[in-house]
Subunit: 336 residues, 2 copies
Amino acid sequence: MDAARTVADPEPPSIDALISMSAADMVKVDALIREHMDSPVPVIPALADHLIAGSAKRLRPLLTVAAARLAGARNEACLKLAAAVEFIHTATLLHDDVVDSSQLRRGRVAAHLIWGAPSSVLVGDFLFARAFELMVAAESMPALEILARASRVIAEGEVLQLTRSHDMDLSQELYLEIIRAKTAELFAAAAEAGAVSAGASPDKQAALRKYGQDLGVAFQLVDDALDYSGEAGTLGKNAGDDFREGKATLPLLLAVRRTGQAERAFWDRTVDRREQEPADLDRARELMRQTGALQATLDLAGRYAQSAKAALAVFGADPWRGPLEDLADFAVARHA
Amino acid sequence: MDAARTVADPEPPSIDALISMSAADMVKVDALIREHMDSPVPVIPALADHLIAGSAKRLRPLLTVAAARLAGARNEACLKLAAAVEFIHTATLLHDDVVDSSQLRRGRVAAHLIWGAPSSVLVGDFLFARAFELMVAAESMPALEILARASRVIAEGEVLQLTRSHDMDLSQELYLEIIRAKTAELFAAAAEAGAVSAGASPDKQAALRKYGQDLGVAFQLVDDALDYSGEAGTLGKNAGDDFREGKATLPLLLAVRRTGQAERAFWDRTVDRREQEPADLDRARELMRQTGALQATLDLAGRYAQSAKAALAVFGADPWRGPLEDLADFAVARHA
């Protein structure tokens, strides 16, 4: 990372400019999403719509569109790739919720609780396949390569997380490796695919990939902090889920390390053995505040956001640069 | 279909010639499969190997290779596509076994019972993504289009089966639509992709697609019959699984229709409500024999196999044609 500290912003960061500049493109992306989630098998569009309609921001396809425009795209080649990115994301959400037995997703009851886990698995497969059909229609072999690789890296990250998810002694390095794979890789690939579709030079492709990756890490770090500090209303999922599942995210790893032997019995019981009582989550939150574990997580997110912004320097004074910088600040400011 | 009856063969059909002609290619396909199922996350190759090592015949990638050679391929472009086809197939098996809570697969304990359903879902995703990475490496956009579409059609077929799987009044037409999607589509795409990679003319591509599709339907019809007539040893799964799960396959649909009101209470209890006693499977088998439901299923499989063979007429006296015809006969003769 280039920057070592978080720069305080006088005004709360906003993504309004980014949203308004990409609005015309995103209407078309949305139409592509609607069109391609259709199927003669009725449960498929019903289940897909439940999840896709719950997503107001469409952050990842927005990244593909904005990256393409920043890289100088004058045509609509990026739109199908953007829709494909949203389908890959939605497919992984459907499978994740089955894997984690989650209750809430995007502020709605998780799909597998309504249609059953089998339908969630199979509709995830449908959306994944549709993503590749859209990429074929976009006729860019390099973009296909980027997104096929990302899909594989995401699955590897998910499996790695699954096998190490209750390890309270997980190193910060391995934790970062997991979130780079399971979350940041799709941000990186979304931005890189946009750049590639615009015919950007290799250094600009690499810059947008780096921007996406660091933004994705910042985004996941803040998500992991919000699970201990946020409310279900703003999260779209239940606050405290990670704790209840004993998931080794950075706030927890830092709190465990910083409280040392004094609290080891508490963590062993609540995280390792997952024998929890109602007051345990509040106690965990309190320990995270006392030890600064939550703030340290957010500070790290801030440094990744700075690094993401720095990667855009290669683009000079392009009108799309500022709004993408704002997105990085916004990702971190969500905790406020 | 072109042929309306099954032609009796004086000798039992054998795929020995096909296997020996494709042996050198299949050694290379196997190496590609081994290489691409590797991952730094140890559970991935372990779980993938459990399933892939259990497959002795590699029927679908064999189809890609043989189709390419019949279509005149002189290079190795088909090998990566063949490995991709096996990965797509293995991914769907992993997900199917989670969806159906199956106990046995390819003669081994189903992977989800050893590594858990979450790992099976995610390793399936990994293999699916790897398939697309292999297709990108094969550098054929038309083959990518064929296999992306097939992946989507398979998922649609699986969902359709899931939602209609206990419907004893399912029409034969809808049953055939389901197996065309969930099974025959990958056979069709495997053969078509092989033809495309060989630069075959459109009529030869279409012929190989038709061969693969009818072979796939025959194959599934025989599988569905074997579930009532076979032994676990030759099936690689438990005989009677379909009955225990109340799956509306053709032998059952025909038996229900042909026994009429006399046995409606029996089918309602055992299939609809799945309240089964140990002797019920034998009674179902007996009713299938009495009504000819099992034989009618096999006869239909025979007609599809004839149709598959007829589709190859366009290739004249090519040395690969006879072995592929034998494969169609062999698919049906498995019940003997």
